[in-house]
């Protein structure tokens, strides 16, 4: 007979996440609505709302990552690989964050051929790129550059900013296993770990996807590269 005191964490997690997601969803949509109304009135509340929107989006992303990591651990992470146009994906990410970009007067440039297609899980990769993009927005000093092209038998998507670049610590942990990462140090490695997980889950023939963090690039700040075979 099952011990009634034992909690089945998977059920707890699943229903908690479901509830949280619903609330967050309402929150984000409400904030979005209020932001647009404030913007129309040229209200200075618009700034504060943009911040709210940003944080709520981060929460949502983290939640999604948590769920994915949990599923991946139990080998239950399904990837729905389909053909997608990169310009659509990137346009959407920029549109999603339009509020923050406007309010902080950031300049976002892209270089993506409108014929460029590749094969990946749209939800996972959008989430991954959005997360990196949000980080770039925060740490950038005004400029962001996104490019995508075919290279070395796969797709390369690069997100660069003109900020301070990745701290040395982050450059070091990009290949470290999760448990060795120090979660107390500022920018946690969770997003990074998740990105790595999703990238490597995308396989083709014998090749695996991967992510690379560097400093420098065309804008002199951080440079994030996603490779999908």
């Amino acid at each position: 007979m099952k011990d009634s005191k034992t909690i089945d964490f998977s059920t707890v997690l699943a229903s908690a996440v479901h509830d949280m997601k619903n609330s967050l969803c309402m929150l984000i949509q409400s904030i979005d609505f209020l932001s647009h109304e404030a913007q129309k009135r040229n209200d200075k509340d618009s700034d504060e709302l943009a911040k709210l929107h940003y944080e709520a989006s981060r929460l949502n992303t983290n939640l999604m990552q948590l769920l994915s990591l949990y599923r991946a651990e139990r080998d239950q992470l399904p990837l729905h690989i389909e053909e997608h146009y990169l310009d659509d994906v990137i346009d959407e990410i920029i549109t999603k964050n339009a509020l923050y970009i406007e309010n902080n007067q950031l300049e976002v440039d892209t270089c993506v051929d409108d014929e460029l297609v590749w094969y990946f899980d749209i939800d996972m990769i959008s989430n991954l790129l959005n997360d990196i993009f949000i980080n770039a927005l925060r740490y950038s000093k005004g400029k962001i550059y996104i490019s995508a092209r075919l290279n070395e038998g796969g797709l390369q998507v690069i997100i660069e900013d003109n900020g301070e670049g990745y701290p040395e610590r982050m450059l070091k942990i990009q290949d470290m296993p999760m448990q060795d990462v120090d979660l107390n140090a500022g920018r946690t490695g969770l997003g990074l770990f998740f990105s790595r997980l999703i990238a490597t889950a995308h396989t083709n023939a014998d090749k695996e996807g991967k992510i690379t963090l560097e400093n420098g690039g065309t804008l002199g700040g951080s440079k994030f590269t996603l490779f999908l075979p």
């Binding site: 479901h18 997601k21 619903n22 967050l24 969803c25 309402m26 984000i28 949509q29 409400s30 979005d32 609505f33 647009h36 949502n60 999604m64 769920l67 239950q76 399904p78 990837l79 729905h80 690989i81 389909e82 053909e83 146009y85 659509d88 346009d91 959407e92 549109t95 999603k96 339009a98 014929e115 094969y119 899980d121 939800d123 996972m124 083709n204």
Partner: protein, 522 residues
């Protein structure tokens, strides 16, 4: 039309069980210029509303609480033939865990959207769908008219012009070829696409083609490959089960079906397959469980078919026979209540009354009440003599079941045997799947229609639940009709069985289109 005010004229239907979310989404839609917005909290309300107003765009949440889910809404709109071909159906999901179902294209939403999404995201997606629909208009129009060859021609044009939507066109082409029964052509196209990239839907399509070409082992291999990439590809599990059944490997079939049921317990078709497999395995426990599921599922959606009711009651009697104590008491209660309910429901159907009474007799035989049993048998005999009109297959089935499983009761009245013979019921109990497949393949090579029917008839008796055989038999009968060839009584009764079998094909299966076309020609 000016893209900026495109949505002012469009009508929207929001389907979500959470009232606050419906309001929130309504605000978003107003934000993109929409004026005509309706909301529904569940599938039934949604379908009624849509029937009335035929909205341009439907935003439906996948999870709708206790009743039907979003996918079932789409399917039902389709079955009832109310869905306009230019209505855009968007499935709204909370997370990326869509069970991969690959059936005919009309059962796929136009787009999936993950919550939360902003106004801009929604507008951008909708704009893209409209642009796509505009480009694909000639194809959609042809599909509307059921003119599949034209649709395929238009697909080819777009592909030749290296359209952005080429992959969509390939998908549509494959869909058309499958519906026309052109499996070899579909396979060749899919293998070509697979060389570029082994997408799950491509692998599933390849498996499907092999399945329909009776290459069951190759089909299983293709399905296993697709499951390796995505463990949640429901179609792969369903078709894999079918392939295993066709090979007589029922244990493996049961594993596949159980895996599918774990992922998606909301499928009548799946439970019926489980029941069939359980019968073949003589697994009475699973059979009862499956029959119960069929009954409870059917109650919430469409009405239950007579055959399903009888199957359920039959398995209850069997279960009662094998159990004791409190379990036996509970089963007896379940049986008594259900029998009473069904006798009442079908009181105007003499054939159902006979069938139900036969089951009652089966039940009475478990106790030592010979007097009651004798009286029952006598009553049934009188009822049988009084039957008129075309005899339904469920009654034939029940009589066969009685003869095979309760021969003692069957032999109690000469009326049973005489009636059985008069109905020329084909006894398809000697399953031999491998022999059936051999004969089936031989029949395909046979060009003489009369000869082909003869071989198929024999093949079918060895594997009467095989969809491919049933469809090939129907096709042969159509040919015979065209050549003014008469069919013997035996051949006619197999024809009837083929139709019964083909009726069990999942509505989302492409072969269903083929089946309906055959019926039109018969």
């Amino acid at each position: 039309m000016n893209a900026l005010n495109r949505y002012v004229e469009k009508s929207f239907l929001i389907i979500d069980d959470f009232a606050d979310y419906r309001t929130s989404l309504k605000n978003i839609l107003i934000g993109i210029g929409a004026h005509h917005i309706d909301g529904a909290a569940n599938a039934d309300a949604a379908i009624e509303l849509y029937r009335e107003k035929k909205h341009d765009i439907i935003l439906c949440d996948y999870k709708l609480g206790d009743g039907k889910d979003g996918q079932q809404v789409l399917e039902e709109l389709h079955y009832r033939e109310v869905l306009r071909n230019d209505t855009i159906f968007i499935m709204v999901t909370a997370e990326n865990t869509m069970d991969m179902v690959v059936g005919a294209i009309e059962f796929s939403p136009d787009e999936y959207l993950t919550k939360p999404f902003t106004k801009q995201t929604l507008r951008t997606r909708l704009d893209k769908i409209y642009i796509k629909k505009e480009v694909l208009k000639p194809i959609l129009k042809a599909l509307n008219r059921q003119d599949l060859p034209s649709a395929m021609e238009h697909c080819d044009t777009l592909i030749a012009n290296k359209s952005k939507y080429s992959l969509s066109c390939y998908k549509t082409k494959v869909d058309c070829l499958l519906k026309l029964g052109e499996y070899k052509k579909a396979l060749s196209l899919l293998l070509k696409i697979a060389k570029q990239r082994e997408l799950v839907w491509v692998l599933l399509g390849i498996g499907k083609c092999y399945l329909c070409l009776n290459h069951y082992e190759k089909a299983i291999k293709a399905f296993q490959k697709s499951l390796k990439i995505n463990r949640f590809a429901l179609s792969a599990l369903d078709y894999q089960a079918e392939a295993f059944c066709a090979l007589g490997e029922y244990n493996k079939a049961l594993t596949s079906i159980n895996n599918a049921l774990k992922l998606s317990p909301k499928s009548l078709h799946r439970y019926k397959t489980e029941a069939f497999i359980a019968t073949r395995l003589n697994d009475d426990t699973t059979l009862l469980k499956a029959n119960r599921s069929v009954m409870s599922f059917a109650e919430t959606s469409l009405s239950v078919k007579e055959g399903e009711v009888l199957s359920y009651l039959n398995s209850l009697v069997k279960a009662i026979n094998l159990s004791t104590g409190t379990i036996e008491t509970r089963l007896i209660n379940e049986f008594t209540l259900e029998l009473k309910k069904q006798l009442k429901t079908h009181k105007k159907s003499p054939q159902m009354q006979v069938s139900l009474n036969i089951i009652k007799a089966q039940y009475l035989s478990l106790s030592n009440d010979d007097i009651a049993l004798n009286k029952m048998v006598s009553d049934i005999s009188k009822q049988i003599i009084g039957l008129e009109g075309t005899i339904r297959s469920y009654l034939k089935g029940q009589l066969s079941y009685l003869k095979n499983t309760y021969s003692d009761i069957f032999n109690m009245s000469s009326v049973f045997m005489e009636y059985y013979i008069s109905l020329s019921i084909n006894n398809c109990e000697q399953y031999n799947e491998l022999k059936a497949n051999e004969l089936h393949n031989k029949a395909i090579e046979e060009s003489n229609t009369k000869e082909r029917i003869k071989i198929l008839k024999t093949a079918f008796t060895y594997s009467p639940h095989n969809f491919n055989m049933a469809l090939d038999y129907l096709q042969a009968v159509i040919k015979a009709k065209g050549q003014a060839i008469d069919l013997s009584n035996d051949e006619l009764s197999i024809f009837e069985l083929s139709v019964q079998t083909a009726k069990d094909i999942d509505p989302a299966d492409h072969r269903n289109t083929l089946f309906r076309n055959y019926l039109k020609q018969l």
